[in-house]
């Protein structure tokens, strides 16, 4: 903690802060670039995100939007040739980008964790299930082997694995996708992190297994009062699992709002188009097409990064990058024309 | 000494290239057939490949040369060396090709061609083989170097044909004088080194050049 405060000031500040929703994670103006042979890929180019304690927040976007890179950036595990080049990430009031590798390592696990998309590659194939869990436990929590094993067992029970004693000794390749993902979740939760990133946790799973895993995540989030960032491209999951959502496109934030507001009255053309392009199992309607392709992140379009595909684009959209403007207290949008446009949501 | 080395280049290259050409052809055909078809054909081809793979080629050549010398009083001619190398040296390529063919056979673009009505011949030689060229070319180029080295060893040990000038032969002749006239062995020695190095690098370069992904 920076600075020294007299006990009285600190106490009263804390008292006051306790009454506000606590901002757990505050990302501002984050830029993460990948320096490849073909050029500099601007995976995140001025992205911001705010997550309050206990919230379930969604980060939605398609490929190339930068949603996975966001989680990697917060945990500072961006793979080479990527690097965070600018911005600030404050977690529990502390600036993460100022921390050393050692300090970050102490945070990963006990404070923040990620569940990745593909459990086949995120679980070590030569570790038994038990070892996947006890490894982290003995590292962070200083437990004896027996204590760690006991905890591993209870974790497996907690994530709904049948016959957990048997499963402890098996290897990942002997298990189904759904089971592997439960173990990945158990591992992420083993040190009871405050913040959990779930990066497309169900994309590779069958529909009925996806339902199981999503239910599990919902239940765990409530039980542990955990703050969860759900990263996905699936608007259905957003509607079901999140209370607040940020829409990302080509490394930039397009819109931020409460989930129901976003669905019912979107203010950004991309959000509207995304909602219209998604088919639903509940009704048949004509799908509206977003023409064009995801832009090249090495040479992104000028001005508003969505303008080449936007049916409302005007001159200013090509020239100037729209700032994130306030629609109301809880709703922000990055679009020059939001005041004039009458967009349709999804009831 | 220098000119003799240059002269021998022709012969050594002949051994390397000819042997490689034959082994590659044989290896690709056997490997592709073994990988593409199921059942008896594949099993038989696989077995044959395995048998040939374990035979130590160098020893065999030396053995053969000894016997040959005893029978015909001549050293092994270049062509004979090429033939023996070719006859036994294709199994490495065949294994690789077989493995790659297995993989490619199930790839969707092969299935797509099948669904368009392409016959086995077309599938194998228009779709599968061109896509396995990369590893095959790298190995073949390395083989050129390898075969040349084998020849060098054979001639160096005195089993080659004393009438055809090769680097191995030159090294053989220069060996007794290594202490006094070491430069006699220098040129052919360097030639071997540069040759092997050169072909290795070429293999790398060719593999990149043939990859349409890198064509800009």
């Amino acid at each position: 903690m920076t600075g020294y405060q007299t006990p009285s000031t600190r106490d009263s500040v804390n008292e006051w802060a306790r009454r506000l929703p606590e901002k757990l994670l505050e990302v501002s103006n984050l830029r993460t670039y990948f320096f490849t042979e073909a050029g500099v890929v601007k995976a995140l180019d001025g992205m911001s995100l705010e997550v309050n304690k206990g919230q379930a927040v969604g980060l939605v976007g398609e490929s190339g939007s930068g949603k996975s890179v966001t989680a990697q950036s917060v945990l500072r595990i961006v793979p080479r040739p990527g690097r965070i080049v600018d911005g600030s990430i404050r977690f529990e009031g502390e600036e993460l980008l100022a921390k050393s590798d050692d300090e970050m390592r102490k945070l990963r696990g006990p404070k923040m964790a990620i569940v990745f998309q593909d459990p086949t590659t995120s679980l070590n194939p030569v570790f038994t299930v038990e070892r996947q869990l006890t490894d982290i436990l003995t590292l962070h929590r200083d437990l004896t082997k027996e204590a760690a094993s006991k905890r591993a067992l209870s974790l497996l029970e907690h994530v709904g694995i049948q016959e957990p004693e048997k499963r402890l000794k098996t290897y990942p390749h002997e298990l189904s996708g759904g089971m592997k993902q439960r173990i990945a979740i158990a591992r992420a939760l083993s040190c009871e992190p405050t913040l959990l990133f779930a990066d497309e946790p169900t994309t590779n799973l069958d529909v009925t297994i996806q339902a199981q895993v999503l239910e599990l995540l919902k239940q765990l989030q409530k039980e542990l009062n955990m703050t969860m960032v759900m990263i996905t491209h699936d608007m259905g999951i957003i509607a079901d699992m999140t209370e607040r959502v940020t829409v990302l496109y080509a490394g930039k934030v397009m819109e931020v709002a409460d989930t129901s507001t976003l669905f019912k009255s979107p203010k950004h053309p991309y959000t509207e188009a995304l909602l219209k392009a998604v088919p639903s199992v509940k009704q048949t309607r004509a799908l509206e097409v977003i023409p064009g392709n995801i832009p090249n992140l090495i040479e992104p379009p000028s001005g508003c990064v969505f303008h080449p595909r936007c049916k409302f684009a005007k001159d200013i959209c090509m020239k100037q990058e729209p700032p994130l403007e306030k629609v109301d207290e809880r709703h922000y949008v990055a679009c020059h024309l939001w005041r004039e446009l009458k967009l349709e949501g999804r009831g | 000494m220098f000119s003799e080395t240059v002269d021998s280049t022709r012969n050594d290259l002949y051994v390397g290239l000819a042997a490689t050409l034959i082994t590659t052809l044989l290896g690709v055909v056997v490997g592709a057939l073994a990988g593409y078809f199921k059942g008896v054909v594949s099993d038989v081809l696989l077995g044959v490949t395995q048998v040939f793979f374990v035979i130590p080629v160098l020893l065999l050549i030396l053995l053969f040369a000894r016997v040959f010398q005893a029978l015909v009083f001549k050293g092994l001619g270049l062509t004979l060396i090429v033939l023996i190398l070719a006859f036994f040296g294709w199994s490495g390529i065949a294994f690789i090709v077989r493995g790659e063919t297995f993989k490619l056979k199930e790839m969707e673009f092969v299935q797509a061609a099948r669904s368009l009505g392409a016959g086995s011949y077309r599938l194998l030689f228009r779709h599968i083989v061109p896509n396995i060229l990369s590893p095959v070319i790298v190995i073949s180029t390395l083989n050129i170097a390898g075969f040349i080295l084998t020849e060098v060893v054979v001639s160096f040990l005195g089993f080659g044909d004393p009438n055809t000038s090769t680097w191995g032969l030159l090294l053989n002749e220069g060996f007794p004088f290594v202490r006094t006239a070491w430069w006699v062995s220098l040129f052919p020695g360097l030639a071997v080194v540069f040759c092997v190095l050169g072909f290795n690098l070429m293999g790398d370069g060719l593999s990149d050049a043939l990859n349409p992904r890198l064509r800009e």
Partner: protein, 341 residues
């Protein structure tokens, strides 16, 4: 905007699949011999028909046999038993004992668009070669017209003529899928199997491809077998839907019947499991216990009984019949379907 066909637009059946069975051998390899130790029951007794101009959606999760069904219909895999009849021709007979010319006809009239756009185009061939390969094989167009035809096909899928000179790796996933569609159309088929054509594409691109497929179907009166695990897109494009579980078809009916009033417990669970992009949606999610069992030793009688919330004794002993006794045209294989009517 593309609008889906209604059932009234379709014609008589052009594809009939009857009691189709495909087992794969499970083999143990010794040093000198292989021993068969079991069967993978990939598809078991699958029957359905598709009419001219119609789309039949085939849904199910991994291991249910839907992709295998597609491959067997095209005779890319040999069926273990059962019959496939296309435009009156016996497909299995033609491929096993028939004339080369008849086989070629089938290969022209039935086509497939594969799942993975990154694997289904030969990386060493140009787009022109890929599309014109059909002409090389079937020789149905004089060489002088090939270029024109290739350009025409590219335009049909909303690509440009200059794309013909390029290689697959230069295109995005959505574009590659268009090339795959152009290739399938090159032979002028009447029936196209679409195996998860949009699953690996981004959401905004999926709509493009789905609409393209719907437009093409109307223009050319094509029939589709749309195989997918993504129920939302299935609803978008199919007139009728078949649901598969562990190699069997458990329900088959019109799309609206399946989605709004499913009669099989598995179908109900499947549909309720799909997250709905609607904040006011208040459905209860039916969570099925356990995992999908292995197709090597499927459960006895009704294969779904170990996970079914309504299973009773009869479900474990007698395999339910696949029939439309309860609602006309709505086929279901369940002893207790009457509960849900």
């Amino acid at each position: 905007m593309a609008e889906m066909q209604t059932t009234e637009d379709t014609g008589p059946p052009i594809l009939e699949v009857n009691s189709l069975v495909k087992y794969f051998d499970v083999v143990e390899r010794g040093i000198f011999q292989k021993k068969k130790v079991g069967d993978v029951h990939a598809i078991d007794n699958v029957s359905f028909h598709i009419s001219g101009g119609e789309t039949l959606g085939l849904v199910g999760e991994s291991g249910c046999g839907k992709t295998t069904t597609g491959k067997v219909i095209l005779y890319l895999e040999e069926p273990t038993s059962g019959s496939i009849s296309f435009e009156g021709m016996n497909v299995v007979e033609t491929f096993e004992n028939g004339q080369q010319s008849d086989r070629k006809v089938l290969r022209r009239r039935m086509q497939m668009v594969f799942q993975n756009p990154y694997n289904s185009l030969d990386p060493r061939m140009t787009v022109y070669d890929i599309i014109s390969e059909a002409f090389t094989i079937h020789k149905n167009i004089p060489k002088s017209q090939w270029t024109d035809r290739v350009y025409e096909l590219l335009r049909m899928v909303n690509l440009e003529e200059y794309h013909a000179e390029r290689y697959p790796h230069e295109f995005s996933g959505g574009q590659r899928q268009r090339i795959a569609i152009a290739r399938a159309l090159a032979v002028d088929p009447k029936f196209v199997i679409l195996d998860e054509p949009v699953s690996s594409l981004d959401v905004s691109i999926r709509a493009q491809i789905l609409n393209l497929l719907i437009d093409l179907q109307r223009e050319k009166h094509l029939s589709y077998l749309y195989i997918s695990h993504d129920l939302s897109s299935v609803r978008q494009i199919s007139q009728r839907v078949a649901v598969m579980y562990l190699g069997e078809v458990v329900e088959l009916a019109r799309a609206d019947q399946i989605f709004d009033k499913p009669l099989h417990p598995y179908t109900q669970a499947l549909i309720s499991a799909v997250p709905v992009p609607d904040v006011d949606h208040k459905g209860t999610r039916i969570i099925l216990p356990g995992e999908v069992p292995s197709p090597i030793n499927p459960p006895q009688a009704c294969r779904f009984h170990p996970r079914c919330p309504y299973a009773t004794d009869i479900c474990k002993q007698v395999a339910p019949k696949f029939e439309d006794k309860l609602v006309d045209g709505h086929f279901v294989a369940c002893h207790h379907a009457d509960k849900f009517v």
